[in-house]
Amino acid sequence: MSLLDTIGRKLKGDAETVAKAPVEAARDVRYTVAAIQRGELSPVEPLKTVGSTLGALVLVSLLLFPIYWILIAALSGTGGSIYSSSGLKLFPEAPSLVPFLWVVGDLIVQGYDIVVDIPITNVAVVFSTPQLTLLDVSAIQPGTIGRVAFGSFELFPGFAVEPVENPSAFKSFFWNSLTVAIPTVIIAMSLVVPAAYALSRREFIFRRKILFVYVLLTQVGGGLGIALLIGLYTVYVQLGINDNKLALAVYYAATAVPFNTWLLKTYMDGIPVSYEEAAVVDGAPPWRVVVEVILPLSTAGLATVFIFTFLTGWTEFVVAQTLLGTDNYTLPVGLYSLISEYSIPWARFSAFALTFASPIMLVYLFAQRYIEGGLSFGGVEG
């Protein structure tokens, strides 16, 4: 799959850049210092750079402070709270991983018995796969996290660790979220990609009208969810599909259609027609043109649409909460159910939210430039 290949290569490139960053920075500093020493560069220049960078850093830290703040709450043990009457603390006093352990729960791969009947004979051979215990939170000992993977190396020195009884249902929420988000992505992509291609490359009846409607509904679609909730809920209930993850996924996919179609269409507009023409002249039938040329060249757009649709399924709360029954709670609903009538168990709540968001954040971290590319409304320029 050349798409994955490309992504892999880009990731590797990114990783290399990140890895080389310190070396490069050192080189930069040495070069600058040398220039100053030779008297070729006024020392003010690097100072300006340092100053601006520091300023930007401060700004970024301020922006991210809320996230850091809840991380502290999460690391402050089960009693952690963002309401701290003892004033602002920049570091957790008694750092503890218990809330996270509580969220993650046991990571145990059950052992399976594989029975192979040997033909003719009456003998059956039984293979038992070992039970693979990555993490057993109820039996965990202080200083053992990371031992499985890192041998005797303690991964989080200084963090309190204790056995956790009754870990959260995170895994089941996680599974639910996955089974909502993945169909959402699949359905949405299969609706969006052909439409975006057609809107970008073909001329047909009602094309402009559809585009207009889509642009009109780009945002209305998503947000109206709440206003439409009553209608939606009634209809779903009457049809008896309200507690159905697939139905929810279809709904999410539907809401994602206008914006993402439009987004991808805009992105595809930026791909020079000559690639397509080259492929046609090379003898490629239309679908191969799309598969071999258009799609690989739309990577950034596709990645953006992928992330956006996935996010819809992954983080949407209000509709999921209304439609789904407890067994099917997705992560955000599960998260919200931690809140009881009066109080919020902040440490667990934060740990839950951060665990829940960290894959997304990782994706963002690496896909940032795709999203940037995918969201550069080049076609809007006019």
């Binding site: 020079p272 000559s274 690639y275 023409e277 492929a279 046609v280 002249v281 071999e292 040329v293 690989p296």
Partner: protein, 382 residues
């Protein structure tokens, strides 16, 4: 190539915007098997449109296209056995050079993967790009990209080659090199080719014959030398050759059986020979004419008849020669040897041979004295 790959364009017409734009207008041209035809004309004259119709990327509004004996007018681009080289190369950025070159084979033949690679490797070797096969297009320099684009076309061994300004993105030096390279390849393979350019020098040097378009209409087809020497009209005369042909508006006066051409502002007069006068009288009865004289046919002289005095505006040295901008007419240039370096504002005398004179209809711009050989045969008879 075992088939006869002639190309016949038969009253081709292409309209855009519901007929508001006529890009190509009643164009009929026949291309012999193995011939290299260059298509030239100012921007927007319909060169690309013509080429794209041959490739099948546009369908003609009316008229027919035949490749060999087959009428391909309604055939899909991918069914036509043509290869095209695009202005921006249109190399698939996500594929390696190898994949780029093999793509056409993969689409239009059923060679095995190994065979394809073998074919690509052979071609690459011939083009001197075998070391680049694993690179992606954006790692290549302009010239290398150009070679890959050529290689991609060649490897398919098509019936017809189409080039749309393939060299216009290269710098002057590289352009000359690549030009020779394309000529070499064409000599080697003898594939029927249609080559679009807006650079008349390129058209002249490369084409077996040259097609000149203006506003979608055919102006002239012919061997470069013929076109240069016998332009069909003022436009062709001015378009072909660098620096451009000089044009002057003159009034026809009679002096016995001789004709005297007098500048409309009276600044000079030029007396024609008897035979030329007779020919001219046979050709037209207009009182006014437009004459053309090529810069290299203008020479400085100090004695003799038909001397024209003029002031030097600018002297442009191009090394091998000098261009003198003279005030005889608008943009009047004489190309003289590089050791003739008059001062600016100096007055010099120039003249030219009657045989080098081109005579055009003052309004339609048609060439009036077409049958040159007769006239040329007696250049000294004035």
């Amino acid at each position: 190539m075992d088939t006869m790959a002639t190309i016949t364009l038969d009253s081709l017409r292409k309209e855009f915007d519901n007929g508001r734009i006529v890009a190509v207008d009643d164009l009929s041209v026949g291309v012999e098997d193995g011939e290299f035809i260059t298509v030239v004309g100012p921007s927007g004259c319909g060169k690309s449109t013509t080429l794209r119709m041959v490739a099948g990327l546009e369908s003609p509004t009316s008229g027919h296209i035949r490749i060999g004996d087959e009428d391909v007018t309604d055939q899909h681009a991918r069914k036509r056995d043509v290869a095209m080289v695009f202005q921006n190369y249109a190399l698939y950025p996500h594929k390696t050079v190898m994949e780029n070159m093999a793509f056409g084979l993969r689409m239009s033949t059923d060679l095995s993967k190994e065979e394809r690679r073998e074919r690509v490797r052979e071609t690459a070797q011939m083009m001197g790009i075998e070391d680049l096969l694993d690179d992606k297009p954006d790692e290549l320099s302009g010239g290398q990209k150009q070679r890959v684009a050529l290689g991609r076309a060649i490897v398919r061994e098509p019936d017809v080659f189409l080039f749309d300004e393939p060299l216009s993105n290269l710098d002057a030096k590289l352009r000359t090199t690549m030009r020779t390279e394309i000529q070499r390849l064409q000599n080697e393979f003898g594939i029927t080719s249609l080559y679009v350019t807006h650079d008349q020098e390129e058209a002249m040097t490369m084409g077996d014959r040259i097609v000149i378009l203006k506003d979608g209409k055919l102006q002239q087809v012919g061997r470069p030398k013929d076109v240069y020497e016998n332009p069909a009209n003022e436009f062709v005369g001015g378009f072909v050759g660098s620096p451009s042909m000089n044009f002057l508006d003159v009034v026809v006066e009679r002096d016995g059986d001789r004709v005297v051409l007098v500048a409309d502002d009276g600044s000079f007069s030029y007396r024609l020979s008897k035979s030329f006068s007779a020919a001219l009288r046979d050709a037209t009865h207009e009182d006014e004419l437009r004459i053309g004289i090529r810069p290299e046919d203008v020479f400085t002289a100090t004695e003799g008849s038909n001397l024209i005095d003029s002031t030097v505006g600018v002297v442009e040295p191009i090394g091998s020669d000098n261009y003198l901008h003279l005030d005889i007419g608008p943009d009047f240039i004489a190309r003289v040897a590089s050791d003739i370096e008059p001062e600016i504002d100096e007055t010099i005398s120039i003249t030219f041979d009657e045989s080098d004179l081109h005579v055009f209809h003052p309004r339609t711009g048609e060439t009036l004295l077409r049958d040159e050989p007769a006239r040329r045969a007696a250049p000294a008879s004035n």
